[in-house]
């Protein structure tokens, strides 16, 4: 365990290092194992290793208990389902401190479930007969209507015929009368069936009936407007009432079968009107009766569900907790004597006493005769990375972790990211008006933090809320840079003093700087507002922002290389300092550090030198005279030295390191054979616990190629990364141009029409454009670019990011997991 701190020259920088971890072994007697794990879960500082990974889930020690938990979880899901269907919401308050017994809960859940199932079954039965009656009633209604109308039309026809007969009594009457009498005698008794059929099947139903009886049926359907609850499935369905007339017994049996196949419910129906009305009253009476019975049943059910709801959350929590405990217990391996469990896991060094304490408490509370044993193991395995964060730093740590989790004890970029990230964002998003808008929005999130953190938020909202402190910092910094750029929705304000320049005479126009003379002291903070809107605004700001981006970029890249120095110092790797850090420093600073210095000199002296020219000809023809581009005496000699140093540092980076590593490896290998004898007992222990520490492979060609890639990447990267920082300028330019377009082309133009409606429309468009484009999309794009600058340009100088996160066993997450 690398517990020792870095060398004496620099501070230990605890802030940047992940917590020192240790692999501990816990030996717990069987009887107190459950309580121990439970206490450790409350503590949440131990990450158990799975010692039984080769066993399948049901072969593990506590498989039976996990099955019990699964069963109970199923019951709880059943309750939840039932409660949400009945509209009963469980009490959300979790009463802490009440310890409920697991076995009691199981018995209770069992009882409640069977009770609930029974009540449900009874209710279902009642509901079913109720639904049947409702259907029956509807059928009586509709079919009655049908028969009545048929009767009416029949009588109407009859009377028509009769009236016709009366009119034409002369010729045809005897024949017709004869016909009628024959009809009456030969009349076949038509049977009929009535019932309800689901509407989507009604057409097929009719068709099949028609086919099956070869068209010898007469069917009438009428639509029921409101949907009906089907007695069999208990679901709402749209249905039709049908009446089928048929002749013959065979047809009847066919129709019956088809009805059955289509799930059509048949009900008896009588042709006589008297019987109909009698049945109607009967059905209505029974319906009313059933309704009261059902509502009584529902009340009883609701009472039961409410009693469940009172303790629901507690049970739910308990069951989840138990399940987590047993899952963890399954990771421990059983001792040969079967009297104790042995567990291994990672924990931070500082937590040792707390864990010890938890073990003791568990031993005492469970009346165990033997205490648990905690011992530290030595291992060569890479420990997990654990940073202690608070609600402010978490979001920044997440940003870094999204790229890769830091290697154990590697310098954590987050520490600087907290400042540099919002700052680089603000360089691209410099407008103190927009900054204030974002500040207000994020203040709302921060002030209502307590409320928001307890409830579930939407996807996007969740993200904004999680990053509220990042956004807060970003807005503060963009107010700051906005003041420097002197932008407020692209309107300049002479906040700190009035402008340093004045018109020479009254005739000078605003759109030009010619004719301005300096009358006061230089504007004290940021850009002089008088630049705004002038013809030379863009050239001035571009030059300023471009140079500033390069300065910031070179500074941040230097910081990255410095971090690699601290890493090398911490891991005591002299090779990395002398053959990586030093040449890298020289290379970067001889080229781009020099450029930065030139920029500053140019700013200070107001020289007219062309820096592009200087840089380009420093490479192309270093021996040429600088001429008017000379910024300081002896510049040529300085440049030649820098160029020479930069060229030398490339092979310096490339060649020595692989050879030195090879030598070191050989030396270590030779020494090993002798060294092991001195510390036999120690190494034996390592062998048994850590699973042996086989010789690491050393492949020279691989190391060399790796170093070659690394060198090329750095050399090319120095150029491309510096260029990449120019995005700061580009985005900042885009932002200020966009906001000035919205201000001038929308707001000012609308103002110019002197029409109140156009003004209102103009203001609305301006507000939506500002919020939608500038505050949301621009924020997002500036955020992404800042992210990239950190992940690529800054972190590739030092960050390995190949560690894994410390994931302790804790109950705080157990409650949140959703299935």
């Amino acid at each position: 365990m690398a517990e020792s701190h870095g060398g004496g020259c620099c501070p230990p920088m605890d802030l940047m290092r992940s917590e020192p971890m240790q692999l501990v072994q816990v030996i717990v007697p069987m009887e107190s194992a459950h309580l121990t794990v439970s206490y450790l879960g409350d503590l949440g500082l131990l990450q158990f290793k799975d010692l039984n990974s080769e066993k399948s889930p049901f072969q593990r020690t506590y498989a039976a208990q996990i099955k019990r938990c699964g069963e109970m979880a199923r019951k709880i899901r059943f309750f939840k389902d039932q409660m949400s269907k009945a509209g009963v919401s469980p009490k959300l308050i979790l009463e802490k401190g009440i310890d409920i017994d697991f076995d009691d809960v199981e018995v209770k859940l069992d009882e409640l479930e069977s009770e609930l199932v029974e009540i449900n079954a009874n209710n279902d039965k009642l509901q079913r007969s109720y639904n049947e009656l409702v259907e029956y009633k509807l059928l009586l209604d509709k079919a009655g209507e049908f028969f009545a109308s048929a009767h009416r039309s029949a009588t109407a026809q009859q009377s028509e015929i009769e009236s016709q007969q009366e009119g034409e009594d002369t010729l045809e009457s005897p024949l017709l009368q004869e016909d009628k009498s024959i009809d009456a005698t030969k009349q076949v008794k038509l049977g009929f069936l009535t019932g309800l059929v689901p509407r989507e099947k009604s057409m097929v139903f009719e068709r099949i009936l028609f086919r099956a009886t070869r068209g010898n049926i007469f069917i009438r359907q009428s639509v029921i407007e409101e949907s009906v609850v089907d007695p069999n499935s208990g679901e709402k369905a749209e249905k039709n009432v049908f009446v089928v007339f048929y002749s013959g017994e065979r047809a009847k049996s066919k129709i019956l079968k088809i009805c059955e196949a289509f799930g059509a419910n048949r009900y008896p129906f009588s042709e006589e009107l008297g019987r109909q009305s009698q049945m109607m009253t009967e059905v209505s009476g029974r319906l009313a009766e059933l309704k009261t019975t059902i509502s009584a049943g529902l009340d009883q059910r609701n009472i039961l569900l409410e009693t469940i709801g009172d303790q629901f959350e507690q049970w739910n929590h308990k069951v989840r907790k138990e399940k987590a405990i047993y899952h963890t217990l399954n990771m421990l391996s059983l001792d040969v004597t079967k009297k104790c469990l042995v567990g291994e896991g990672w924990s931070p060094v500082f937590a040792a006493t707390q864990i010890q304490d938890a073990l003791q408490r568990a031993a005492v509370d469970s009346n165990s005769q033997v205490g648990s044993i905690l011992q530290v193991l030595r291992t060569k395995e890479m420990p997990p990375t654990f940073f202690r964060t608070n609600k402010f730093t978490t979001a920044f740590q997440e940003i870094v972790d999204a790229y890769g989790v830091a290697k154990y004890q590697e310098a954590n970029p987050t520490v600087f990211t907290i400042v540099t990230f919002p700052f680089l964002f603000a360089v691209m998003f410099g407008d103190w008006g927009h900054g204030i808008c974002i500040l207000l929005a994020t203040m709302y999130l921060i002030l209502r933090e307590k409320k928001f953190s307890s409830q579930k938020l939407g996807d996007i909202m969740e993200m904004a809320f999680g990053g509220r402190y990042v956004i807060f910092m970003m807005s503060l910094f963009s107010i700051y840079t906005g003041l420097i750029y002197n932008e407020f929705f692209s309107i300049p304000y002479p906040l700190f003093a009035s402008s340093a320049y004045d018109c020479r005479d009254t005739a000078c126009s605003e759109a030009t700087t010619i004719g301005l003379i300096k009358t006061r002291d230089t504007y004290p903070f940021g850009v002089d507002p008088v630049w705004h809107g002038t013809r030379s605004e863009l050239p001035f700001l571009n030059s300023l922002k471009m140079k500033m981006s390069i300065l910031l970029g070179v500074a941040q890249m230097n910081l990255g290389i410095m971090m690699s120095f601290f890493n090398a110092k911490f891991f005591k790797s002299a090779v990395n300092i002398w053959f990586q850090f030093v040449p890298q420093m020289i290379f970067l600073n001889c080229l781009f550090g020099y450029l930065s210095v030139l920029i500053i000199i140019k700013w200070c002296t107001g020289s007219q030198a062309d820096l592009y020219h200087v840089m380009i000809y420093m490479f192309l023809s270093p021996m040429d005279d600088l001429g008017e581009n000379q910024l300081f005496p002896n510049q040529k000699i300085v440049q030649l030295t820098f160029l020479f140093l930069a060229l030398v540092s490339v092979p310096w980076m490339l060649l020595p390191k692989p050879f030195i590593l090879k030598k070191q490896h050989e030396a270590r290998h030779e020494g090993q054979a002798y060294a092991q004898l001195d510390e036999t007992d120690e190494s034996l222990q390592v062998e048994t616990n850590g699973g042996g520490h086989g010789h690491e492979e050393f492949e020279f060609s691989e190391i060399f190629v790796h170093q070659l890639i690394h060198t090329i990447e750095f050399v090319l990267g120095a150029v491309s990364n510096t260029a990449s920082y120019l995005r700061l300028w580009a985005l900042s330019l885009a932002h200020s141009e966009l906001s000035s377009v919205f201000y001038e082309k929308v707001l000012l133009m609308a103002w110019g029409f002197n029409n109140i409606f156009i003004l209102i429309i103009g203001i609305l468009v301006f507000i939506f454009a500002t919020v939608g484009v500038l505050l949301v999309m621009e924020t997002l794009s500036a955020f992404l670019h800042a992210l990239r600058l950190h992940w690529v340009e800054y972190q590739n100088k030092f960050y390995e990011g190949d560690g894994y996160k410390f994931a302790p066993f804790t109950f705080t997450l157990v409650g949140n997991e959703d299935e």
Partner: protein, 351 residues
């Protein structure tokens, strides 16, 4: 457009192919089966399956489980997969997917008709039907008395209607007739499917031809073995063989006159791909034949995944899942009846 599927396939089929390959990754592996074989009771099986794709389908089942529940839930998963793919598919893939379920439809029709013949309850029969082979008026099948009625009443609305043209008789339905009907339908179905795949062309037709030819040959062998000793004439028997496949036409001639299993074997050993299957068995044995065929089929189905840009992967996935469900059913039955020694008799490992 043979060989150029890569250009255009992904426009319509890319998403679904990705989906189906994802599903394939969810099939149980040999390691899973080994673990399942060690289960002591059905709850262990549930626990093990909860770590697989079946997890969400089984988690809400109350504890004393039955084999039927497990099979039902696993089939539900297959059906859900299928429905998801079907509703995403465009022509001609949707037709291809529809073809896959016709086989189940035939089985369901036969099941219901046989059931009604033996006077079973229709509702009970419908529960036994494979959900993939369901159609609207399936329950009405119970009404029919003979083949013609069956066709006229119900099946004329279903995609199976064209297959019926060959077996329309007015004879009353009995067990023998139904079995002949099943095989005639299957023959027509396989031939139609084969033609459809040929029409699709490209890798689909290549791979599907192979898979369907195997299916046809297997059916031919099974028909032969099952009809030995029945009153089915040689001509009738020959009529039931599908008109394609490795055995067509000469193998069919020889199979048609076989009188016992060893003669069948003699015929089949002339065909190299089937030689391996039959050489595993001792003479006169036919129990292991099913398993041997299943194993060969699974091997071929797995090979279908080796090639990209064709529809056979959907067919292969559905078949593999069905095999997997058969495996699970066998394992569950063995575990439930404490016959763990027999588990390996019928389980076909896939990967």
């Amino acid at each position: 457009m043979y060989g150029f599927e890569a250009l255009t396939f992904n426009i319509h089929g890319g998403y679904l192919e990705a989906i189906v390959r994802g599903h394939r990754a969810g099939l149980l592996t040999t390691a899973d089966y080994n673990n399942l074989c060690q289960c002591e009771n059905l709850d262990d099986i549930k626990m093990h399956l909860s770590a697989t794709k079946y997890g969400s389908y089984l988690q809400n089942e109350p504890s004393p489980l039955h084999t039927t529940t497990i099979v039902e839930k696993c089939t539900l998963k297959l059906v859900d997969d299928y429905k998801h793919m079907l509703c995403q598919a465009t022509e001609p893939m949707s037709s291809f997917l529809e073809y896959i379920r016709y086989g189940h439809m035939i089985d369901n029709v036969v099941l219901i008709v046989t059931g009604t013949l033996h006077e079973r309850d229709v509702q009970e029969l419908i529960e036994k039907c494979h959900p993939l082979g369901m159609f609207d008026s399936i329950a009405t099948l119970a009404v029919a008395q003979n083949m013609r009625e069956l066709y006229r009443l119900v099946l004329v609305d279903t995609p199976l209607a064209p297959y019926f043209s060959e077996c329309l008789t007015s004879e009353d339905l009995d067990d023998m007739n139904i079995e002949i009907m099943r095989n005639t339908l299957y023959k027509a179905y396989l031939e139609d499917f084969y033609k459809f795949c040929q029409k699709l062309g490209g890798a689909t037709s290549e791979i599907m031809s192979d898979l369907l030819a195997f299916e046809a040959d297997r059916r031919a062998v099974n028909i032969t073995i099952n009809s030995i000793g029945t009153e089915l004439t040689r001509e009738d028997r020959k009529k039931l063989y599908s008109n394609f496949g490795l055995l067509y036409p000469y193998g069919h001639e020889e199979l048609a006159i076989c009188e016992d299993i060893d003669q069948v074997r003699g015929v089949m050993e002339k065909y190299p791909p089937y030689q391996a299957i039959f050489s595993k068995m001792s003479y006169g044995e036919s129990q292991m034949l099913d398993k041997a065929f299943y194993e060969e089929e699974v091997r071929r189905l797995c090979l279908a995944f080796e090639q990209q840009f064709h529809y056979a992967v959907f067919f292969a996935y559905m078949r593999l899942r069905e095999q997997e469900i058969r495996n699970l059913m066998w394992i569950s039955e063995c575990v439930a009846q404490n016959q763990k020694s027999r588990i390996h008799d019928s389980v076909v490992y896939m990967f």
